[in-house]
Symmetry: C2
Subunit: 345 residues, 2 copies
């Protein structure tokens, strides 16, 4: 039986908006009006409002040949929620703009929104607006997230002080190695479509690439512990790049220890298999969406037994630069390679 395919033209833009509106249910009292007017209306009292926005473009940020649409929708929301988390805030609303070429059916849009709405459930955000239009080529997703934070709890990149402890949540490098595995399977598939992808032994790292989480759990735990980090950023471009952002904004130096970097066994094993150093993946791979933050040494007691927060180094003077002590006990400069989408070919 052929899969159902409904053309977007059968509904038109208003039909699509109506459909999305009917599948959302608001979770926040502050959402006074969501989808359906010229703008959403949000009530804010005694709080500071956070705004974060990101755009994902087909062929640049994702490849639909291995990124299922539902995962893409989920990831696009998680990425923005992660930015709100990185300010120590709680996300409250998102808007979603989507551009689709006519190779996408209504069922494809529904699948994409399933992922978006699942993430809205998981991260407790209200979908309050957006725009769906056709695109001349490919899929474009642009999401803006709003969040709230108490004035005294907001954490910027700029507050790290000499002597602070550098902390990282979760583990690093997995999303990057997951991407390498997916790329390899795609090449195998292209050269021999009969081959089924063998992904079982890479389940964790593939999941990290396809369906990253935003660490709202950590934000809520920090609030319970009444611990406000001195600086924070989320790891989207790789640990090295984010450390240098903190260093620049806080006018500090950092020293981290290679043997303290949290790296999952599957990341390490796959790196070995593919000839990619797992430390390099952690430093420069990106897309981990973990939190990198600094705390005053007095706060160490509160976190020292936390199973998912890792202490990777110390804040130094600005003049000392950004350094890593390697496993061989050499002191090397950290260089931010991150992603440069404008690479010349």
């Amino acid at each position: 039986m052929a899969e159902k395919r409904t053309e977007l033209s059968d509904l038109g833009e208003f039909g699509i908006i109506e459909r999305i509106k009917n599948s959302t249910k608001n979770k926040h009292k502050s959402t006074l009006e969501g989808i359906g007017d010229d703008a959403a209306i949000i009530d804010v009292k005694d709080k500071q409002l956070l705004v974060s926005t990101d755009m994902l473009l087909e062929g640049v940020h994702f490849d639909l040949s291995y990124m299922p649409l539902a995962h893409l929708g989920y990831k696009a929301v998680a990425v923005n929620v992660s930015d709100i988390a990185a300010m120590n805030g709680v996300p409250t609303q998102i808007t979603v703009n989507i551009g689709l070429s006519n190779r996408f059916s209504l069922e494809a849009v529904d699948t994409l929104y399933q992922g978006i709405l699942k993430a809205c459930e998981d991260f407790k955000v209200d979908l309050v607006g957006g725009d769906t239009s056709s695109s001349a080529s490919g899929l474009v997703l642009s999401i803006t997230a709003l969040g709230q934070v108490d004035k005294k709890s907001v954490v910027k990149r700029s507050g790290a002080k000499k002597g602070d402890i550098i902390c990282v949540t979760g583990d690093l490098g997995a999303a990057y190695l997951g991407l390498q595995v997916l790329e390899r399977e795609k090449q195998v598939f292209l050269s021999n479509p009969e081959m089924q992808p063998q992904l079982d032994k890479y389940d964790y790292i593939v999941q990290r690439q396809l369906k990253p989480s935003a660490r709202m759990d950590i934000i809520h735990e920090l609030a319970e512990l009444k611990l406000v980090p001195s600086s924070m950023i989320d790891i989207s471009d790789g640990l090295a790049s984010e450390l240098m952002h903190l260093a620049k904004s806080s006018k500090i130096g950092v020293q981290i220890y290679e043997d303290k970097l949290p790296i999952d066994k599957q990341t390490y094993d796959t790196g070995y298999e593919l000839g990619i150093d797992s430390t390099t993946a952690a430093l420069n791979g990106g897309e981990d969406y973990e939190l990198l933050f600094t705390i005053n040494q007095d706060d160490y007691e509160k976190l020292k037994n936390h199973s998912d927060i890792h202490f990777i180094g110390y804040v130094k003077e600005f003049s000392e630069g950004c350094k890593m002590v390697t496993k061989q006990e050499n002191l090397i400069d950290i260089k931010a390679q991150g992603w440069n989408h404008y690479k010349k070919d």
Copy 2:
């Protein structure tokens, strides 16, 4: 002398963000933090917050062969500000996501931002965040605007009451005819590149298409007059489509009069020249970004001498539908054609 061309790869994403950050200056006390952290921080007290978002895609919403980049940047901001105006709000901040293929140079990005920043000046909004990345093909612009409104002044689409007077600002249909002229000149140019475009006699309608304004002047005047419309929407898809939005949201009918529709002489003359009925352009052309609103009859005195607000009809019972009295005094149904970007070819 060759025009200067700097590749985007020479700066990278962070370089571009830095450049944009350095060219913005915040205008609102509520902008606590703008560009440069994971999210912008906005202070809000005793107000309701408005959020509006729009995406413009090359080949769908604009054609760079006649849309200069600076105008495109300006228009993208104006369109979002217009949505905030349509809620009777004042815009305060915007975020801008841009995707660019490598056929664009740094100078092109600068030109685009010149238009964006000019609009930020004109509409008094702070640019507080965004994302610039490469795109596999074409230019993508996604903008989110935030605005504020007093709780008692917010105007939705849903408040129109039977007997209210229907008002329209400015004039209608010009942007659509401007587009037709630009399309025609493009075809002439493609068939004979030696021909210079003859646009002088179309200056007003071309300007309406390329550099639309958002009617913040009207919003400020309504505030001075202490007049809160009963319902409001901005005209992006054409008067017919917007009237039907008001009718549906407010559960009302409308009756408008063809001879009351505000149409500029240049729109009328160009319509005649091109064989396009100017009433059809006003009803279905779209992109005017004027305001359509309803007022209680008691408020008529306050507006009756306003040179740029036009009274085009009355709010009726829902059961009476949406009708127009033609110049020949026939009563016809209004049909929303608007834009359907998903047209089958």
